[in-house]
């Protein structure tokens, strides 16, 4: 029991430290797919689920990079901006798709921070979006 309370105390303490700070958070994930970079790029470009909730900020065909801003405001995060870039893989028929997001937690005022509005919650939600987005991309590339 004592150990449990100590752990709880330590957890609460460390959480209050990490919950501070008006700092932008970052999530970066990537996958490797067995198609040419050109093919991966064309799939990324017409990734349909994007268009309803995103505002595309720029396309760069040369460096195969798309930048967008999320318009949907119902997630536990704010000011979400991200980019997806397609890079060459280990050989000609392999590509790496990298997805990077920058965002803030929803609650920007003084601590105490309400439950579910802290950095950790925001980060977990964005990680989920990025990971499932990459998984969907992989799936649609495999079916082509």
């Amino acid at each position: 029991m004592r150990k449990f309370i100590l752990t709880l105390l330590a957890l609460t303490f460390s959480m209050s430290i990490f919950a501070h700070g008006p700092t932008p958070q970052k999530v970066q994930e990537s996958i490797t797919v067995s198609v040419t970079p050109a093919k991966a790029w064309s799939t990324v470009k017409d990734f349909s689920s994007f268009k309803k909730i995103m505002k595309i900020r720029s396309f760069d065909d040369e460096i195969m990079k798309i930048k967008y801003e999320m318009l949907k405001k119902d997630g536990p995060f704010s000011d979400y901006n991200a980019y997806i870039i397609v890079k060459k893989g280990a050989n000609d028929n392999e590509s790496v798709i990298q997805w990077t997001a920058r965002f803030y937690r929803i609650y920007k005022l003084n601590p105490p921070i309400p439950e579910g509005q802290d950095d950790a919650t925001a980060k977990a939600a964005v990680k989920k979006i990025v990971e499932s987005g990459l998984a969907n991309l992989k799936k649609s590339l495999a079916s082509k």
């Binding site: 430290i17 990490f18 501070h20 700070g21 008006p22 700092t23 900020r57 990077t100």
Partner: protein
């Protein structure tokens, strides 16, 4: 004999002092250096601007962001917004000599021109904290507007200038900490810069810069790239970091218009100049690096990998 000895001693002493002057930089290790705060791995990268490489990585508090350098005192103050404290680095040895506890998030820092005080914006409680450099502790504070983000000292008028992100304004205080003017800016002013009779704010949400005339309080708005974060001026140019465009906006200050853009790394946040080397350094939060440019023609000299999420909000170059 005695006078001969004196002569020899004098000659030896003289040559010693001459060599001291000649090798001064080597003796005292005065290298031009940039101090880069890395939010993601709780470190400061020390970059030698002659060699263009990281020469040391210093562990600081959690989520370091703001910085100011006290050149004459050989000190660098680093604000850690995760641990609510300030790490003070001796820039000769590049070691932490003191940690100042604050109990609030220090967002940005600047020093008084005589380097006796460091001003810190207290993001959570809407204060400016004043640290005595001699005593290394907070000796005074005063209330300012909502979410004070940037802070800078104007030497011409002895003004302390503060941007208030959530009230879309800039406040100007005199040396007795009295508010003498509050002006509207664009939406979400973050970084602030001043030189001579002008102050500049980078307004994140409406992609503009506000130029304020500190003599007659008139202001102008200039359109720049997406989500500008900070800026500075050099001769007749304004240089602005555009975090979402991964670029710098170059403004002609005679006509107050953007005349071109220059590519940076990903999510460029802050920037500073080394005067003697005529060098511009930009921190790239997204690509964990800095971009070093030749100021003469604004060409990239080198991109240098630093730590995770490089920021350096404030003046970060040791001249």
């Amino acid at each position: 004999m005695n006078s001969y000895n004196t002569k020899i001693t004098l000659i030896i002493l003289l040559s010693f002092f001459l060599s001291l002057i000649y090798f001064y930089d080597d003796f005292f290790e005065i290298h031009p250096k940039a101090y880069i705060t890395n939010q993601g791995d709780n470190t400061v990268s020390v970059v030698d601007l002659n060699a263009l490489e990281v020469i040391k990585t210093i562990k600081v508090g959690i989520a370091p962001l703001g910085i100011t350098i006290l050149k004459e005192k050989n000190l660098s103050f680093i604000g850690n917004v995760g641990t609510d404290d300030i790490s003070v680095i001796n820039t000769r040895t590049d070691q932490i000599i003191k940690t100042i506890k604050l109990n609030t998030a220090p967002l940005s820092l600047t020093s008084s021109p005589d380097e006796t005080k460091v001003y810190v914006t207290d993001w959570f409680k809407n204060n400016i904290l004043i640290i005595s450099v001699k005593e290394m502790k907070v000796i005074d504070s005063f209330k300012v507007g909502k979410t004070p983000s940037g802070v800078i000292f104007n030497e011409k008028y002895n003004y302390l200038i503060v941007t208030n992100r959530d009230s879309n304004s800039v406040e100007i205080y005199n040396k007795n900490n009295n508010l003498i003017k509050k002006l509207e800016t664009g939406k979400h002013p973050f970084g602030v810069y001043t030189k001579g009779k002008y102050a500049y704010t980078a307004n994140v949400y409406d992609d503009t810069v506000t130029v304020i005339d500190l003599e007659n309080w008139s202001s102008k708005v200039i359109k720049v790239g997406a989500h500008p974060y900070n800026m500075l001026t050099h001769n007749n140019l304004g240089i602005v970091t555009n975090t979402i465009d991964d670029s710098l906006s170059i403004i002609d200050l005679k006509i107050n218009k953007e005349i071109k853009t220059i590519n940076t790394g990903e999510t460029p946040e802050n920037l500073d100049i080394h005067q003697k080397l005529n060098m511009l350094v930009v921190t790239n939060w997204g690509s964990d690096s800095i971009s070093v440019y030749d100021l003469k023609n604004l060409t990239l000299i080198k991109e240098i990998k630093t730590g995770a999420q490089s920021r350096s909000f404030g003046d970060f170059i040791l001249q």
